[in-house]
Symmetry: none
DNA sequence: GATGAATGAGTGTTCATTCAT
DNA sequence: CATGAATGAACACTCATTCAT
């Protein structure tokens, strides 16, 4: 009844609903891929369809939000690991977390690959993630823990690749990605590196490609 | 009967249409992923919708056909490379061809990963490919060209992973996969291999996972 | 909750639409038989196609709903007539109402006959109707108003038969069914009944036949 | 090779194919109703789809042909029974044959009821059947075997009604129609006929209704 | 004449999105 | 602001019909 009290209450609800929706959407996309319907997401969140659209005017918007959350999570982890002493261990931990996160979020790869992604926030988040991971990678490079020709953007891209390698086994061997992560790490720290036949991708290229 | 063999007639048109359709479907799926509609495929092929369904009674059937074509192509290449003297070079060439082929067929990865794949022909073709690639891999292993803990099924899975790593760059740097292939090869032939933390996938697990 | 009951609002519209749809469907089926398309029904109701499917997720569901409405109407009439003094007049009135109702609902006969009818509600409603009509028939039998070898299920089946007899005349002589109803009633009350060559159908047989 | 010999040979094939098609169509329609597809009919006949359309340019035409065959069969039977001594027995036999034939030809009722039937041949055949049956009925009337207010057209219409009465039981009790035929015959020969409340249908009304 | 491949309008159904309540 | 009914553009798929061989 207190006029002032209602507004914060509603705000609180909106925040709660937004979180419910993001969780529901993540679960739904993880299970059915991008084909998961807005209706199912609403149901999982225990909300009405209209409410979903109030929060995310478009399915693409919801996708962007969920992707941003993952990117933020990864960037946060990378930032925290910058403080670690052992750069090699830090990089390994980042990649472990990263691949694991992808496994829980089947939509992510599909979203990253889709050329129609319009959201500049996502592009910015990807770029930012690449910057932080480059810092992480640079330390490992400087410590001689990994070869010199690998960039942070390489590392970010490799997360998706490792996940994809193990994806066909997800149903029967959900931990198989660990095998391919290790194999990749062996490639990164090889004592006898080949000359890589293609220059490293630049950050803007990654994000632009997500645009074109 | 002899007459029938000499009279290509209608049959020739059908063969041509089938090829038109497979090509159109590959292109459409490459562009829009599995969401590409049967209608668009028909249009791309310059045929009527009904014709698509005469050739492939179901979207799933068309998908299976397109996937089989790719698998056959890979298995054929692998088989031919079994004759080569230099096992390491042969394996490298197989993987090069493989990743290149995947780039042209974006549907492939989505199809391989999809749990509902019902076509036993596809499952059989995957299994067969794994067998041939295992032979190819075994020779490289025996020649000491790659580490001892990598199987043919690993190699097949890695094709998808390498492709995925470079996929976000496809639009701007279509050759970027070469970088990640080389990196992977470095991992495969490392002089100081780590103990891989997960046992190698068995062939049946791969194909079963495509089933479950 | 009290508030919800007093606020017809949206709900009122939905109820109205449901009725519009049932009426439109009845008309469409009456005109074109079961081939009437969901699209046409939507158009007749002045609603969009999607709305039809929101109310009745399947054509079969719509069919079931329309059939249930008719069955309920018949069962209600039969129940009310159980109170009448003159059992013969009551039975006649029931049959009159019944055949008249069928004339307005050409789908009914096709639905009743269709073996794939999955809806247990319809089966239950048929069974229930047969029970009530058996009560009505029993009274007439006991009063000697009709022969002793006729059951309620016979009466229910005869409604469809009488309707069908006059169906080819519907367009030019919409009241012709009265002629065949009277003829049937004469058969039912004949003073010199033949031995009927086939045992009476059991209720479960009727409903099971709609199942098998 | 003899130029003259080919024509009769082809003629013979055409006649054979026509019969194959009519039988296949009758079976298919009996099983699935009018929804039976031209494709299935072709398959059942062991012929190609094109051949069906050479014989019957339209599904409606095939329907008409099949219906004509049934009508001819009934008219033939009625004609033959005109010679019998016992008119009552003859009428009973005609009706028995008639209802039995309908049971084997589920399409017939649907065809008779369908207002869009355009074929004048069918209309003529119905009219002719009514004439012959009227002769049969007249004899029974004159012999006092049935009531005086029943016409041949009534009898023809009753065939469909009796069949429909038992139709819902067809799957579980294929002979149930005998029960309702007997009941109808009791109505026809009742010693105390009611005044039928609607004048008898005229032949042209029947056939016109099939037109409107 | 027989064949069956091609056609394309039509069907039931789904789903992102809008909007009245 | 939340709700869920209404919308209508797709979609996969079917089938009578046409026509090149």
């Amino acid at each position: 009844m207190a006029a002032a009290a209602t507004t914060p209450g509603q705000r609180a609800d909106m925040v709660r609903n937004r979180r419910l929706l993001l969780d529901a959407a993540a679960a739904a996309f993880a299970e059915h891929g991008l084909e998961a319907s807005m209706g199912e997401i609403a149901q999982r969140a225990g909300l009405a369809k209209g409410t979903v659209f109030r929060h995310f005017p478009t399915k693409e918007d919801l996708l962007a939000a969920i992707t941003l959350r993952l990117l933020d999570q990864l960037a946060g982890a990378a930032g925290r690991l910058l403080e670690a002493d052992d750069a090699a261990a830090a990089l390994r931990e980042f990649m472990t977390n990263g691949v694991e996160a992808l496994a829980a979020d089947r939509a992510f790869c599909e979203v990253i690959g889709r050329p129609s992604l319009q959201h500049s926030e996502v592009r910015d988040a990807i770029a930012e993630l690449c910057v932080t991971v480059e810092a992480l990678t640079a330390r490992a490079r400087e410590q001689g823990a990994i070869r010199g020709d690998i960039t942070g953007t390489d590392i970010v891209l490799l997360l998706g690749g490792i996940h994809q390698t193990a994806a066909p086994l997800l149903a029967t061997q959900p931990e198989a990605w660990r095998r391919y992560l290790e194999l990749t790490l062996d490639g990164l720290r090889t004592a006898t590196p080949s000359a890589l036949p293609h220059r490293p991708p630049l950050r803007p290229e990654l994000t632009d490609s997500a645009l074109t």
